[in-house]
């Protein structure tokens, strides 16, 4: 056992005890990254305002999380993956304040909810519009496949290589303002207007101080009737957005401070697809998207891992062919979490 472990043990956080809290901390950071790209939830002209799923540390009973995103638009990919600029003189931003709550309901089960508040700022050569409203709410159910956290300091047996795995369901509730709600302009949109159910799986392994994680999710939108578009009543029709899938690969390094506080830096690559929407059984030519992004998150956690502060940056890879039919955006994230 090295000096650092002794130090943690002295504080009652050593060995097996330290692992749940630290693993939860790392997972929370990873969850933040995984949520950061979320492009189909973020665009002001395509819908916006999705929140991040929360992950409660193994040792936590409940958790409050507040995070702030600033998303800046910088052109877009067309359907062929070609990069085109936004209108000359435009300055497009979206700000999101995400309020989250998570609660452990059993040893391996936890639930959470995130409500985003969204402010759109769309400045063009001849117009300046702002709007503020609720975004789409997410409610998550997460199952941990392990009872004892699998983070290790060194690999001494095959058992030490067993990763932690999480299985989750995320239900998106259309509490935002969509084109089919009481919106008159595309600039007012803060949500997509559709219920969605995502199933997710993530695998994570920490051999201190390094962490590697992989996650995959698949989501299905529910079909809904539409009878209004931006304030115009229209002939009713049914619409269903395309299925959505995403994966991310993350790597992190944790630095243990003398005070036993920790700083973790995580980088991530993510890839997101969404299929073509159907309107009355016919494909909607404006839908379907892809976005690839790289992200970095710097996270501080105090000694007993009850408090975390996070600062992140996600950048869409601004290369031809690295996205389709979607805005190119950079996202800055700052947040704090308190675990009880």
């Amino acid at each position: 056992m090295n000096v650092r472990t002794h130090s943690l043990s002295r504080l009652g956080l050593g060995g097996r005890n330290v692992r749940p809290a630290l693993a939860g901390f790392v997972i929370a950071a990873l969850a933040l990254i995984c949520s950061a790209p979320a492009p189909a939830q973020a665009g002001s002209c395509c819908g916006g305002g999705g929140g991040a799923a929360l992950v409660l540390p193994k040792s936590g009973e409940w958790m409050l999380d507040v995070s702030f995103n600033m998303e800046v638009y910088d052109g877009y990919w067309n359907r062929e993956g070609k990069i085109l600029p936004d209108a000359p003189g435009s300055d497009l931003k979206q700000f999101r304040l995400n309020l989250g709550y998570a609660k452990r309901i059993a040893d391996r089960w936890q639930v959470s909810a995130v409500v985003p508040m969204v402010r759109n700022e769309n400045y063009y050569e001849n117009s300046r519009t702002t709007s503020f409203d609720t975004g789409d709410t997410t409610i998550s159910l997460l199952y941990e496949t392990f009872d004892v956290v699998t983070c290790v300091w060194s690999v001494e047996s095959l058992e030490d290589l067993v990763p932690a795995a999480y299985l989750g369901l995320v239900f998106t509730i259309p509490t935002g303002i969509s084109p089919f709600d009481d919106a008159e302009r595309s600039f007012d949109v803060t949500g997509r207007g559709f219920y969605r159910l995502d199933a997710s799986a993530s695998v994570e392994k920490t051999i201190w101080p390094w962490t590697l994680a992989f996650s995959y999710s698949y989501g299905i939108h529910m079909e809904r009737p539409v009878n209004r578009e931006y304030g115009h009543w229209v002939e009713p029709y049914n619409k269903r957005l395309g299925d959505r899938r995403s994966f991310s690969l993350s790597g992190g390094y944790t630095y243990f401070m003398e005070t036993d506080d920790t700083i973790t830096f995580t980088i991530s690559y993510s890839d997101l697809w969404e299929g073509t929407a159907m309107i009355g059984g016919e494909p909607d030519p404006a839908t379907g998207l892809r976005k690839r992004a790289v992200s970095g998150v710097l996270a501080f956690s105090n000694m007993d891992k009850s408090f975390m502060a996070k600062l992140g940056y996600s950048q869409a890879v601004k290369q031809e062919g690295w996205g389709e039919n979607f805005p190119i955006t950079d996202i800055v994230t700052a947040g704090v979490t308190y675990v009880f």
Binding site: A87, N126, G176, N227, H232, T287
Partner: protein, 176 residues
């Protein structure tokens, strides 16, 4: 225990959903005609707008030698690009007797509209690109991104809604 869990979750959801029941409980009721917004069958308001080359266009002028006019309201975003590509590949080719006008409602000047059209690759396209400098036309039609309006020679609106497909636009154009 579960009431303790459910209460905060429900409170968050209710807080979020307050006043947004249109999306949470969507309706398929046909409410057309129940609002003051322009609708199919209404007379289209006259307009005057410059194109990106500085030439002035009016609705009545466009209809003088054509069977109809299609207005598409664009803000140079990926959805607009997808719509315009779809229109260009189908309805625009199939209806040489109809003018297809792109209304740029976010560029405040002819020069700005020209730059946006050039950057988007549409300056030399078969569309006529008009600049709604003060968004007067956008407001008079109650339009926003993707709003597509089909107007007959008699100035009657045959379609006014989001662009959805070539089929939808072709059906409206068939009625001209």
């Amino acid at each position: 225990m579960y009431s303790k869990i459910a209460a905060p979750l429900m409170a968050l959801t209710l807080l979020a959903g307050c006043g947004m029941m249109d999306d949470m409980a969507p309706s398929g009721a046909d409410n057309r005609g129940s609002s003051a917004a322009l609708a199919v069958g209404d007379m289209a308001p006259e307009f005057t707008m410059p194109d990106i080359w500085g030439q002035t266009h009016t609705l009545s002028g466009q209809l003088a030698n054509k069977r109809g006019v299609v207005l598409y309201f664009a803000m140079w975003c990926p959805i607009c690009d997808s719509h315009m590509q779809s229109i260009m590949r189908g309805p625009l080719k199939n209806h040489p007797d109809v003018d297809f006008l792109i209304v740029d409602y976010v560029s405040g000047t002819v020069e700005g509209g020209k730059q946006a059209a050039m950057a988007g690759g549409y300056a030399q396209s078969p569309f006529i690109i008009l600049v709604d400098e003060r968004q007067k036309v956008m407001k008079s039609f109650g339009a926003t991104m993707g709003t597509t309006v089909v107007i007959g020679k008699d100035l009657v609106i045959r379609m006014i809604e989001d662009y959805k497909s070539q089929t939808q636009l072709e059906e409206a154009l068939a009625g001209l």
